[in-house]
């Protein structure tokens, strides 16, 4: 069902060009190594995940031509988006994206990037967010935290990755819905933020579990609330924001996209490749150990998911006064 829908979509796009009319979904094979663009620098969360995907492909010999990881970290993903949008060989250029896939084109309209035009290949996971404090803060519940943060006003420092990106959007949500005045300090990466919490240089963070789990396992960092629809298996004691009466859940997409204008056959090839990666034991283990969410999505379903999230982010940014 999924495949046929994807084919139809591809045909609709390419019928006018007279391409790929009779080709079957698997007719495409890369003829050279594939550029695998990573929207972040070496060593970050997105990079680790991309390299894991590449490794799985290599280990199980899933593709005849290798994926070549290329980091384009500039401008919160701007560099990667522009590079992929202008890719000369659309059938051999794919990219791993995050939520900056939505926010960066909105914040930097000068780039002329339209995210919705990228070819939807596969959503591999959604990363989750929790609210973390140091165990020495003595705070053990979300209610306690709200009361305390209210009482200290702008002395409470929340750290997060980047400006007006995921972490700050969640911080804005907390500030406006619980009448708080937290100060937000942007850092370069989630690992640094986790370290600032552990070293008590900032008071709280909204790290992804994978970034802070070392400190959680050591009992230093404590999760107070999860920004997910259901409680996470690994953190059963952290209630969700929905339990706290707010209809708010926020995830970070971990998706693979193709260059705009990618042929339908190529898109089908990459979707089936990443489906294999998704189904591999390594990826499933990784998902479980890092508390990742989200099923496999591709084609029109992924496109629809993007549209919803794009609008959500537009509203969040407008609220933050920046779009």
């Amino acid at each position: 069902m999924k495949i046929s829908r994807r084919c139809l979509m591809g045909l609709a796009v390419f019928a006018g060009l007279g391409l790929a009319v009779n080709a079957s979904a698997q007719a495409f094979e890369p003829v050279k190594p594939v550029d695998f663009i990573i929207m972040a620098g070496k060593g970050g969360g997105a990079d680790k995940m991309a390299r894991l995907m590449q490794t799985i492909v290599e280990k199980h010999k899933m593709a005849s031509k290798p994926l070549i990881p290329i980091n384009k970290p500039g401008g919160s993903g701007a560099e990667a988006l522009v590079h992929v949008q202008n890719a000369k060989d659309q059938d051999h250029t794919i990219m791993v994206t995050l939520n900056s896939f939505y926010t960066t084109p909105m914040r930097q309209p000068g780039l002329g990037v339209d995210s919705m035009k990228f070819a939807p290949v596969a959503r591999m996971a959604e990363d989750t967010f929790l609210l973390w404090v140091h165990k020495d803060s003595g705070l053990t519940s979300f209610e306690q935290w709200v009361d305390h943060v209210k009482s200290v006003g702008d002395q409470w420092v929340m750290g997060g990755t980047g400006k007006l990106q995921e972490d700050q959007l969640i911080t804005d949500f907390l500030n406006s819905n619980f009448d708080l005045k937290m100060k937000y300090v942007p850092y370069k990466g989630g690992g640094t933020v986790a370290k600032q919490v552990a070293g008590k240089h900032i008071n709280s963070s909204v790290n992804n579990p994978s970034e802070i789990e070392g400190f959680y396992n050591a009992g230093v960092a404590i999760p107070l609330v999860a920004f997910t629809k259901e409680r996470l298996d690994k953190f059963p004691n952290a209630p969700t924001m929905i339990e706290k009466g707010q209809d708010f859940a926020y995830y970070m997409q971990r998706s693979v996209v193709g260059a705009p204008g990618m042929s339908a056959d190529a898109q089908a090839y990459y979707t089936s490749l990443f489906k294999k990666v998704f189904d591999s034991k390594e990826w499933q283990d990784y998902r479980a150990s890092k508390s990742l969410y989200g099923d496999f999505l591709s084609g029109a379903e992924l496109q629809a998911y993007w549209k919803v999230n794009n609008e959500t982010h537009r509203k969040m940014l407008a609220k933050a006064g920046a779009s």
Binding site: G43, V185, T192, F215
Partner: protein, 505 residues
């Protein structure tokens, strides 16, 4: 003694035939990757990471650590032989390594680099073995304020040095700082200084682009100009007696070796810093404490020893926060960390308890890697020296090609290659006007660490700058930095008084 027992157990793992073989292969591969301009340990580890899935995780990390080590040794080779930093971590090695080679003492510089690397590596592994968990908590105590204070100190060591023209040094630092500010500003979340809206500036200016431009292209232009196209190539002979006498000379230089080892290790531990700033700071402080600072930059063996000891010490240091806190201390350890995650290991405070086989196997193999690296390196010296015997007309095009490769490799963007060529001409012009260029390289390395730390500190404190003086760790560091910055003024004042006195007489 728990530690000794663990370590012996670790040696049993490290000396398994497979692991020992991987150490030797890794060190050799690393040596050559490090020697290639532009390719450093980051590239080596990233490229070879997928290969390691053929062996068990402990062997895999041993292999990667050996590459990491080998690359630290190898980086010095092209810095000394060609004047192009072989890896980002070896930038400081060019400052004195190249002049030594021009004096016909390339073999001495190479031996100094190898021995210093061994010394720095060994000291830092001993510190690592004995104090890893305790030092991890020190790393945690370093917040933004402390990091900024430390960066201030690093700048101060370059400004506060007598000898160079201070105004010109400050100017050079400022140029480096401006270049380091290009690209995304993480605090405001917007791009800045994207000249002419060229998309390549979005990722900022990679400091290797500047360093290779300055030391590769700029140096080549300088050689052509100063020799009118008929350069005398230095003659280097290799003989056992020469090697032994160099070795004796090198072993006398214990001070820069200690400065490099301890400082490098310490800076390596701090997240966000890593081996490159460590080596630059070691160079600065070693120059400052030297009895003959005026020789630095003109071919002082100490100027090779300090940064080389430091970059190896830092690479071990950087593994400490990676293993104990799950935070990489350098870009290379960030990739290693990614590998560990894929192997199903969870780095963090519990790792020393839950995965003790892995940790101690790695530690023991670091001793082994260090040992083999110094031997392999010294054995290869005659091969490297052969490069210098080539006529300049052959060597120059090779250097030029290596520069282009080195400029392209880190970002894989032609934009950076053009930029590097432009920097090369700029550097040549500045050198003609007698501006020191090392401070610019220092600034482009340290700027991206210092600037966010300063702004983050000030956001947290609400704009109150006294935090740099009142915090227990940041305070003393800031004070020392300020004293060093003021030192030249005092010297100028003294000189004037002396002159005045002389005039009276």
């Amino acid at each position: 003694m728990d530690i000794i027992q663990h370590l012996l157990g670790g040696f049993l793992i490290a000396f398994e035939p497979l692991n020992l073989g991987l150490v030797v292969v890794g060190v050799t591969v690393g040596l050559f990757i490090g020697a290639m301009p532009g390719l450093g340990s980051v590239n080596g580890v990233a490229i070879l990471l997928p290969l390691t899935f053929l062996v068990p995780p402990t062997s895999a990390i041993i292999f990667l650590a050996a590459i990491y080590y080998g690359a630290m040794y190898g980086g010095a080779i092209s810095s000394i032989m060609l004047g192009i930093p072989g890896a980002s971590t070896a930038v400081a090695t060019t400052f004195d390594g190249r002049p030594l080679a021009l004096k016909g003492l390339a073999d001495k510089a190479l031996i100094a680099a190898a021995v210093a690397s061994f010394f720095g590596g060994t000291i830092s592994i001993i510190l690592f073995t004995g104090f890893a968990p305790a030092l991890a908590s020190v790393a945690l105590d370093f917040g933004d304020q402390e990091i900024f204070a430390l960066m201030l100190l690093a700048f101060a060591t370059f400004v506060g040095l007598g000898g160079d023209d201070i105004a010109k040094t400050v100017f050079s630092i400022c140029i480096g700082l401006v270049f380091s500010a290009v690209g995304m500003d993480i605090i405001s979340g917007t791009p800045r200084l994207v000249f002419f809206d060229i998309i390549g500036f979005l990722h900022g200016i990679n400091f290797l682009v500047l360093a290779i431009g300055v030391y590769g292209i700029g140096e080549m232009l300088w050689t052509i100009d100063s020799t009118r196209g008929n350069p005398m190539m230095s003659k280097v002979e290799v003989s056992a007696s020469r090697t032994v006498s160099h070795l004796k000379d090198v072993l006398k230089e214990w001070k820069p070796a200690w400065i490099g080892s301890l400082l490098g290790f310490f800076v390596g531990i701090l997240p966000a810093a890593g081996a490159t700033p460590g080596a630059l700071m070691a160079y600065g402080i070693s120059k400052m404490t030297s009895k003959t600072p005026e020789n630095y930059g003109k071919g002082d063996v100490g100027g090779v020893i300090a940064p080389e000891a430091a970059n190896n010490a830092a690479s071990t240091g950087a593994m400490l926060p990676m293993l104990t806190l799950g935070i990489p201390g350098s870009p290379t350890t960030a990739i290693l960390l990614g590998g560990m995650v894929i192997w199903g290991l969870v780095p963090g405070p519990m790792m020393f308890i839950e995965q003790s086989d892995f940790v101690w196997g790695l530690t023991a193999s670091l001793y082994a890697a260090n040992f083999f690296a110094v031997i392999i390196n010294i054995l290869f010296i005659p091969v490297f020296l052969y490069v210098l015997k080539m006529p300049f007309t052959v060597l120059a095009p090779i250097i030029f090609v290596l520069c282009l490769v080195g400029g392209y490799a880190p970002t894989e963007d032609m934009h950076d290659v053009w930029l590097m060529v432009i920097f090369g001409f700029g550097a040549y012009a500045l050198r003609k006007l007698d501006y020191p260029l090392a401070p610019a390289v220092l600034a482009i390395v340290l700027g991206p660490i210092a600037e966010p730390a300063l702004r983050q500190s000030l956001i947290i404190s609400g704009g109150d700058a006294t935090v740099f003086f009142t915090r227990p760790i940041a305070g003393p560091i800031t004070m020392i930095a300020i004293v060093l910055l003021l030192l030249p003024l005092v010297q100028v004042y003294r000189k004037k008084r002396k002159q005045a006195k002389n005039a009276e007489v």
